[in-house]
């Protein structure tokens, strides 16, 4: 790309003096053709990307709760929608979402890290087969089996009520069931980049495998742990299908289940509530996403998609 500018200058310096005006005009035309239009396009793309978000932000500040009134962008600034959230179950749902999200993120990280460590550092019978099986299982979404999840929790609840329908613990367990398949590969690759000499020297110094895992490896793989934690959190945060069938009573709902109820009825007057709730709920996710962005991009390229 620097080639063009180079030849550009060579060519222009070769011209006679006194044509400065036309030369800068030519250069400007050239700049517009090669670079300038990219700014114009950027404006279009920015509008496309950001408009819905600006709209929801403006709707959240609009004191009227209806959909129709929120079309006048930033015509009002009022925090009544945010205050009104306190009268709904929003904060209960928010807390539920955080509980489910954090628990499944922590569980997914621990299980995935342990499995990735085993696959990366030990050579055992069935290792290759195990990795292949995980890769295959990963392709089958758990959500497709929601009928079986529903019926299984129904009968499991008769034995252990804490693992039955309407239990957050049961929902977390279902999410953790999918943890190994999705995350092991992501982590396995990263674990392989940690030189095995570290393990060996520790072993010579008399460390047990548990000490090597907790004291040496875990601190070294923190970036991938953060990525897996974030992706698991977002997956739990955004899941509707499983949480809808598992969590029956309103005080157990997550945000996805609860906020859907607000706006599923086209004429309901909960639009302002939804807007305020969406803005509040997205802030922590946005902050986490952009602070971990560097690692996430690497993780995404290693093969996960938005859930």
């Amino acid at each position: 790309m620097s080639e063009t500018t180079l030849t550009d200058t060579v060519r222009t310096t070769g011209q006679k003096p006194g044509q400065d005006g036309s030369r800068t005009a030519a250069r400007r035309r050239r700049w517009i053709l090669e670079v300038g239009w990219k700014y114009l396009l950027a404006v279009v793309v920015l509008f496309y990307a950001v408009f819905p978000l600006v709209y929801i932000l403006s709707a959240s500040f609009n004191p009227s709760t209806s959909l129709a009134a929120s079309n006048a962008i930033f015509s009002a600034f009022d925090l009544s929608n945010y205050a009104a959230l306190a009268d709904t179950s929003y904060w209960t749902w928010f807390a539920n979402t955080l509980i489910v999200g954090f628990a499944s993120a922590i569980g997914a990280v621990l299980m995935g890290a342990a499995a990735a460590y085993a696959f990366s550092r030990f050579r055992f019978a069935g290792r290759r087969g195990g990795l292949t099986t995980l890769l295959i299982i990963q392709m089958f979404p758990q959500a497709l089996a929601f009928v079986a999840i529903f019926l299984m929790l129904l009968s499991l609840g008769e034995v252990v009520p804490a693992l039955g329908l309407n239990s957050k613990l049961a929902l977390i367990c279902v999410y953790l069931g999918g943890a190994l398949g999705v995350n092991t590969f992501l982590m396995y690759g990263f674990f392989n980049t940690i030189p095995i000499e570290i393990d060996e020297s520790a072993k010579i110094d008399g460390a047990t495998h548990a000490q090597i895992f907790w004291r040496l490896i875990i601190p070294l793989v923190t970036p991938i742990l953060a990525v897996v934690a974030l992706l698991s959190f977002i997956a739990a945060f955004g899941d509707y299908i499983v949480s809808k069938i598992v969590l029956v009573s309103e005080d157990n709902w997550t945000l996805a289940v609860g906020m859907f109820q607000w706006v599923s009825n086209q004429l309901s007057a909960n639009w302002g509530l939804f807007a305020a709730g969406a803005v509040l709920a997205s802030i922590p996710v946005l902050v986490l996403f952009f602070s971990l962005q560097r690692y996430i991009v690497g993780g995404l390229i290693a093969g996960s998609v938005k859930g």
């Binding site: 030990f122 290792r127 497709l144 079986a148």
Partner: protein, 537 residues
């Protein structure tokens, strides 16, 4: 080929080979790690034993066997030195087996049954339900003084019958618990607490429960049950239906109709009338054949299947093209503020997907939506009600959601391109478009192909966007199970299953799930061929 690979893996296997010192000689006391392990395993064992006992009591044999196996495996793995890798793998594997592998198998099992509304339990439960439906108070039967009793949240009745206090609940038939000289309502019932009448009168919900409660007189459903209207006297109600287990028939004693059990889990009379409750039975391939032979269902499902494929392909192709083009354009170092632009470009990706779909649901609203209002000058375009507009709109939403992902991925891939190849090409006089066509595109495609395939599989089952945006609507006219024009297969399964209310057909839904599983499996196989990821380990 095999030689360098061999040398690459050798050093990894070598360190585990040197003879280790005996564990006894390396003994340095128990240590914290062991104590922590002991406590955790003690808790797990306690919980496991409780589960096993509870499962045995309820008679849930799968849970019983499952928890025994899990407990044994856990104890063996963590208390022996046999398999160190398994110590790391086991927690994840248990969850994987119970909550993923088992439910896949269970789905396959349900697909071969008629499990659903009217066919939920066993035959025994169906008989019981049928007899309850036909229950009438026995003419001239005695009334008994009755007290409502409670134990651990379960309500029951206690009656006084000829000097004996009998107590029972819905689950437990009457049994004699005490002798009494009184003839009034029992005042003291061993093992149960009597609910004071004042509580009963003030608690509407409990009244309702008491009126619906029926306590079987004995194990034989034909003997009837005790019911009460006022909470202080009870009477025997028996069914007008009589169950004959030997002949597998239920006879209506009022008009003499005989309902006999058929192999579809129903009690059917000779004139074809059915009792409303049936039981779950295995029906073989019936659910699968029904998907293809029921014309209304097949027609609607074909529309859904075609749309699923179109949606999945376009949801990958369009955002990928957009992401790639934008990535190439904004990789130009002459554009200033690229970092800033990139951050804003990927904002939709960081915004939680379900909220975006709900947000667009409001924005596309035909009457009040901001899209009609601002961009179509207040026109009343029915985005969510017209099949083609709705399909276009949901694609638009999904593109908005996913193009930043490809933008990120393609930017990463372009920046990782070998600089010397591009330099060599430009020295050789290759034009920019030629470089793009012959170097950049092929290399980027190789790097992103595996992602495209897994994204396709993901879009194929992207329930959240479809359901949140428009519930899969607008409805396909004449389609059974409320199938709609934007429904993809997974949301169609949701509609058919009826788990969210309405008539449920778990068997049919699971059969459709199995078919989608097979389709996904084929995609997975293609993915394996394409990526050859397996060669890496």
């Amino acid at each position: 080929m095999s030689v360098p690979q061999g040398t690459a893996t050798e050093p990894a296997t070598a360190p585990s080979a040197p003879p280790r010192e005996s564990h006894a000689r390396a003994w340095k006391g128990l240590g914290w790690g062991f104590l922590v392990k002991l406590v955790i395993l003690a808790v797990i064992n306690a919980f496991g034993v409780l589960t096993i006992i509870a499962a045995a009591q309820v008679g849930s044999w799968i849970v019983l066997v499952g928890s025994i196996v899990i407990l044994l495996v856990a104890d063996v793995v963590y208390f022996t030195k046999r398999s160190i890798p398994l110590k790391y793998l086991l927690p994840g594997l248990i969850f994987l087996f119970v909550f993923q592998v088992f439910i896949f198998g269970y789905t396959a099992f349900i697909a071969f049954t008629n499990y659903g509304t009217g066919h939920v339990g066993t035959q025994e439960q169906a008989v019981e339900a049928a007899l309850i439906q036909g229950e009438r108070r026995v003419e001239g039967s005695p009334t008994y003084p009755l007290a409502v009793v409670e134990r651990a949240g379960v309500l029951g009745f206690a009656i006084t019958d000829a000097g004996e206090v009998k107590v029972g609940s819905a689950e437990q038939p009457l049994e004699v618990v005490a002798q009494t000289g009184d003839t009034g309502a029992p005042a003291d019932v061993p093992g149960w607490q009597i609910v004071p009448r004042n509580d009963l009168i003030s608690d509407k919900a409990m009244q309702q429960e008491v009126q619906e409660l029926r306590v079987p007189v004995s194990d034989d459903p034909n003997e009837g049950s005790i019911r009460t209207r006022d909470g202080s006297t009870g009477a025997i109600y028996t069914s007008t239906l009589v169950w004959d287990e030997q002949a597998q028939t239920i006879t209506d004693t009022v008009n003499g109709t005989v309902y006999s059990a058929d192999d579809h889990g129903n009690f059917v009379a000779e004139d074809g009338t059915k009792l409303p409750t049936g039981w779950a039975v295995t029906v073989g391939w019936e659910n699968f054949t029904r998907l293809f032979t029921d014309p209304a269902l097949f027609e609607a499902l074909s529309v859904v299947a075609v749309w699923t494929v179109v949606f999945a392909v376009l949801s990958v192709a369009i955002p990928f093209a957009m992401g790639l083009i934008l990535a190439i354009i904004y990789n130009d170092p002459r554009v200033r503020g690229r970092k800033f632009l990139r951050t804003l470009f990927i904002l939709p990706y960081a915004f939680p997907a379900f909220m975006s779909a709900l947000l667009f649901r409001g924005m596309f609203n035909s009457e009040f939506g901001v899209i009609n209002e601002l961009f179509f000058f207040g026109a009343n375009i029915d985005w969510l009600g017209d099949p083609w507009l709705a399909r276009g709109a949901v694609l638009f939403v999904n593109i908005w959601l996913t193009y930043p992902y490809y933008f990120l991925v393609c930017t990463g891939a372009i920046q990782a391109l070998p600089a010397d190849a591009l330099e060599a090409a430009s020295i050789d006089g290759a034009s920019r478009s030629r470089q793009l066509r012959s170097i950049i595109l092929p290399l980027v495609l190789v790097a992103t192909a595996p992602l495209l395939i897994s994204s396709f599989a993901f879009s194929f089952n992207n329930f959240t966007v479809i359901y949140m945006f428009n519930n899969g609507g607008p409805a396909i006219p004449g389609a059974p199970y409320a199938l709609g024009a934007t429904d993809i297969l997974i949301s169609a399964i949701w509609d058919i299953s009826g788990v969210s209310g309405g008539a449920a057909d778990y068997g049919l839904a699971s059969a459709l799930s199995i078919i989608v599983f097979i389709v996904v499996g084929v995609i997975a196989a293609i993915a394996f061929r394409q990526t050859r990821k397996l060669e890496e380990f």
